[in-house]
Symmetry: C2
Subunit: 284 residues, 2 copies
């Protein structure tokens, strides 16, 4: 389909939305917005690596301050070899502040034993999605484990240095014929560094986008230049619009990798920017 | 013009933008947004009262962190009786971090002498707008001073407890037949507490809106319930859309009045939200 044709279809959808919106009436001189969103907003979370320099308590305090209730946990807060009791204790700490742990990772897997360990770990913790980076060799075993457990895995792209999964294209090429519960955790920063457009990736691999690591970069170069959401070169409005288009119901998790020992202001600004764009799109 | 007609015009502009944007090429499957805004974005500043608990150095550090370059200064950072040398010194401190002082206030004036003091103060400091709260009795003298000096005054609404200027309506009623350089600093929080709609106020008093204090409230009750921009009940998207409609070129200054000794995260989140909504509107 041509770009033009798709654009016209998007426009038609927009017209339909404006017709059904109760706030837009003939006699209103100026009222393009409704306080009531016409679409469900996207969900905002935090990717656990953001808290690499913080304790669980500090991480909870930051999440409470910025009003974010979903976390993809990293092993430094929940070790792979934790007991079920330890996992319950950690989850209870977060739950006491209204925070849900919706995934765990990124978990690297090079052998079937490491795949077993990852699945055992999230099962023990009662988490139903792994953010993973398995080698190509273990993918058949990963698929087998998914069929056995029902646990989903979102493979994470880690940029041009990642020999397996530089961008979402490399992930999709590996998983497209495998179980539909094997998908992509689209890291929009590493995707951009791999010179792949994250907006296009959302549309092209829509059914396999399970999770997102959202961030911004000052430049689209191999070296990382992290910055607050909205200050960089990544097309955040376009990305969120694409996620609305595919009716994405997963998490958009902020992964903030600047000032990592003093990141609350940057996380807060990023959350605010996401919410501003998200609000506007929910009204369209 | 009908809503439908306006929508179609906006769409046509969008098509044009997509054609001229270098990022959006023919083979793009999905590209509703252009990285190049089609409209000038609104300007973001800080209202000095935000920094009531901070030194000049702390205030500068916060503004640098959140990337805001315009300040309406309060007297606790630049006393009314300051010398020209002191004013130059304070301005130079801000200027060294790229920050411009675009106004001073809120300044209260009950006598002609206090009006003189306010105008002398900003003239000495080289600032060309007063955010003021003059009594009704001194308004003729204020007008005379405006004609003499060319300095503008934006009168600030302070909510239901303010016997003179509860909302923008009370200001407009007093100034509508006076010099056009006498206007309104629309405080959207106090406006909402006075049960006046700030979005309507922007449209109704458009030519007299010189400055804004932007904030959010959890509830539209007389008591203040300040919160981060986007978390409350004020229609920020509608407000910014109205400001685009009137081609507002002044400042939208965050006045953050919560956690005032630890307000950086709240200021940052508010700045992010403003920028997200602003970005979306600049693309429409």
């Amino acid at each position: 389909m041509s770009t033009r044709r798709k654009f016209i279809q998007a426009t038609a959808a927009g017209v339909a939305a404006s017709v059904i919106s109760p706030r837009i009436s003939g006699e209103t001189a100026f009222a393009p917005f409704s306080k009531t969103a016409t679409k469900s907003p996207l969900n905002l979370g935090i990717a656990g690596y953001t808290f690499a320099k913080f304790s669980i308590e500090q991480s909870i305090a930051i999440m409470q301050r910025v009003g974010i209730k979903a976390l993809s946990i990293k092993d430094f807060h929940l070790p792979y070899d934790c007991t079920k009791e330890k996992a319950d204790e950690v989850k209870a700490k977060f739950a006491a502040s209204g925070i849900t742990i919706y995934a765990a990772g990124v978990i690297y897997m090079k052998t079937n034993e490491e795949v077993d360990r990852a699945f055992d770990y999230v099962q023990r913790a009662g988490i139903n999605m792994i953010i993973g980076s398995p080698t190509i060799e273990v993918l058949p075993y990963v698929e087998k484990k998914i069929k056995l457990t029902g646990i989903r895995m979102a493979i994470h792209n880690h940029g041009p240095e990642d020999k397996l999964y530089a961008g979402p294209k490399e992930i999709f090429d590996q998983i497209k014929s495998l179980d539909s519960r094997l998908g992509i955790c689209l890291d929009i920063g590493h995707c951009t560094r791999a010179l792949q457009d994250p907006v296009k990736a959302v549309m092209q691999y829509s059914s396999r986008i399970f999770d997102l690591h959202i961030k911004d970069l000052l430049k689209a170069i191999p070296e990382e230049t992290p910055t607050e959401l909205g200050r960089g070169i990544i097309d955040i409005p376009g990305l969120l619009q694409a996620l609305y288009k595919i009716s994405f119901t997963g998490m958009c998790s902020i992964e903030f990798e600047r000032d990592m020992t003093d990141s609350l202001p940057g996380i807060a600004e990023s959350a605010g920017y996401f919410r501003g764009v998200n609000k506007m799109l929910s009204l369209q």
